[in-house]
Amino acid sequence: MSSAVISPAETQTRSVFLLMKVGVVPRLVIVCAVLAVLLFVAMTYAVSIGTTEIPRPDVANALLQYAGLDRGVDESSPTYMAVTIVRLPGVMMAALVGAALACAGAVMQGLFRNPLADPGIVGVSAGASLGVVLAITQTEAITDLWRLHNGPLKDALWRIPVTAFVGAMLSALTVYILSLQRGRTNIAALLLAGGALNSVLGAIISVLLLRAGDMTQIRTVLSWLVGSLEGRGWDYFHVAKWPIMASTVLMLLYARDLNLLAIGEENAQALGVNVPRVRLILLALSCVMTAAAVSFVGAISFVGLVVPHMLRLIIGPDHRVLLPASLIGGAAFLVLADGISRSIIAPEKLEVGIVTALVGGPFFLLLLWRNRRQIAVF
């Protein structure tokens, strides 16, 4: 081969990511600005969808006004009320949950150096699902157990997410304890224990569902298991935002440690990372974040896996850019999926988890196919 000709092999070895030669801060600003615009467009679309379609310019103006920009919208108009009181809570919940799942997924993938890792891998989603099934099919037992007949758990609105959160944290804790070896987490043991616990919990869920006599109960459970945003209002949003926001801030502070962990644990420790401690903190944060998200809307699949991957293929693996991008990108992704789920078979609604799997899945497969060389070096 003549040396003057650039071989295909050589072009591949050039860096392939967008803005790779730009510093971290400008890259972060550009990426986040683009994704924020996408998120706004997705929100406008999702809010406009409903029993009566609201024109998108009106939605956009109402949203901007709600966010504090004066767009001259009459705040007592039916359109403004419909947007901010009826439609927006569900869309904001979608944004919050999408952000949480994608960010937790990005953290898990870096932490385990495993592109297939998502928070489900340590049993969080399965634990939450079992909590939901128990709360719906064994209502009496659950309320008896906690002696809360008169407390907030009396109401299914709170009984389901609280039971789900407890289930999620208990299963994550079980997996964590099983993976301890001489006081350190053994990653292989963690992944195996997570897989085994997922099977066990899945079997218990099946038993409970098959024994449940009531078809409406089974429908409610199934709708939760695939993930549904229907009827999730401001109540849920204002509770779920706290653990998710707190975890986000802490995760961002550990973004550089994640970069170091991604190139190997001994490398990270040799460069000054307290590996056991950082790993435990990040694991706990992503479990809390995921548990908070799935407890309120069910086990929405694929967001935690697909979104960080798509973004990594475009902007590269630096977690200081990837984590904020995953937050905004995950929010936009789930808001879009929510809009599609409410419009695709209108006036019927599809569960949003089905849309993320049906739309996200094939799209992801296409990306994998088109970028298979990059995946190989991942």
Partner: protein
């Protein structure tokens, strides 16, 4: 001059097996110490123990006169830089990003790299002749390029001490020579202390100021290369008959491997 690192009668056991028994090692500024010995003699273990990567060793390890156990991982990383043997550098980071990671021990959680840090990276890339690789993905480099990049990362830590674990394993001869010439040059310029686990005895004899011969976790011999690589020591450690001689062309110490000691 006082030593950078002093490890005195260090023992280390893992899963009930003694890997190190009463091993000692000192490193002074400006010298390259070669750790040699057969597979399983404890070369890599000794490096991991003295750098705090593996904790729980018996014995006295002092870094800059202060016990190693009193250092945090961050503090160690400001003094000791490591060039690892095999690395899973498969995440698609660019060379520049990987080298910039060497600044980690000097940055707090709330800081971003400054222009000064980037300047240090640039100089490290220059000194290791890896400047033109800066925007390549680390996973696409050849073995020799990758070792030079890891050396650049070690330099950005601005260490006092360099630990190299088989830095030339699986490299072709021209890269083996190039890496060691680069390392000895850097040691000399920055007055670094360095210790390298080395498989190849002739390479070790050629570039190291001192050799430490490990056998079954203990130090069998140490000193100048010619004093360590004797027929008797090689027979004891490797079980082969070898005759050291001076290369008629280069004058470097060479070994004639005569045969397997157990068979004769």
């Amino acid at each position: 001059m006082s030593s950078l690192l002093t490890a005195t009668s260090v023992s280390y056991a893992r899963d009930g097996n003694d890997i190190l028994r009463d091993a000692s090692l000192t490193i002074a500024p400006g010298e390259l110490v070669g750790l040699i010995g057969p597979n399983g003699a404890g070369k890599s273990t000794l490096l991991k123990v003295v750098s705090g990567l593996w904790s729980g060793a018996q014995g006295d390890i002092r870094l800059l006169e202060k016990p190693l156990s009193r250092y945090s991982p961050r503090e160690i990383a400001r003094v000791i830089a490591q060039v690892p043997q095999i690395t899973t550098l498969d995440f698609p980071f660019t060379v520049q990003q990987v080298v910039l990671m060497g600044r980690n021990p000097h940055l707090s959680r709330f800081q971003l790299e400054t222009a000064q840090d980037r300047g240090i990276v640039e100089r490290a890339l220059e000194r290791t002749q890896t400047g033109e690789l800066a925007h390549r993905l680390i996973g696409t480099l050849s073995g020799g390029e990758r070792q030079r990049v890891l050396l650049a990362r070690a330099l950005t830590q601005q260490p006092r001490l360099l630990l190299l674990d088989e830095p030339t394993a699986n490299l072709d001869i021209q890269h083996q020579i190039a890496i060691f010439e680069l390392v000895t040059g850097l040691i000399c310029e920055d007055n670094l202390g360095a210790v390298a686990a080395i498989h190849d005895l002739e390479l070790a004899a050629r570039f190291c100021d001192r050799l430490v011969l490990l056998h079954q976790g203990t130090v069998l011999a140490q000193g100048a290369p010619a004093d360590v690589l004797t027929a008797a020591h090689i027979r004891a450690a490797y079980g082969v008959e070898a005759q050291p001689y001076s290369d008629p062309i280069t004058g470097h110490l060479r070994l004639s491997i005569l045969g397997n000691g157990h068979l004769e």
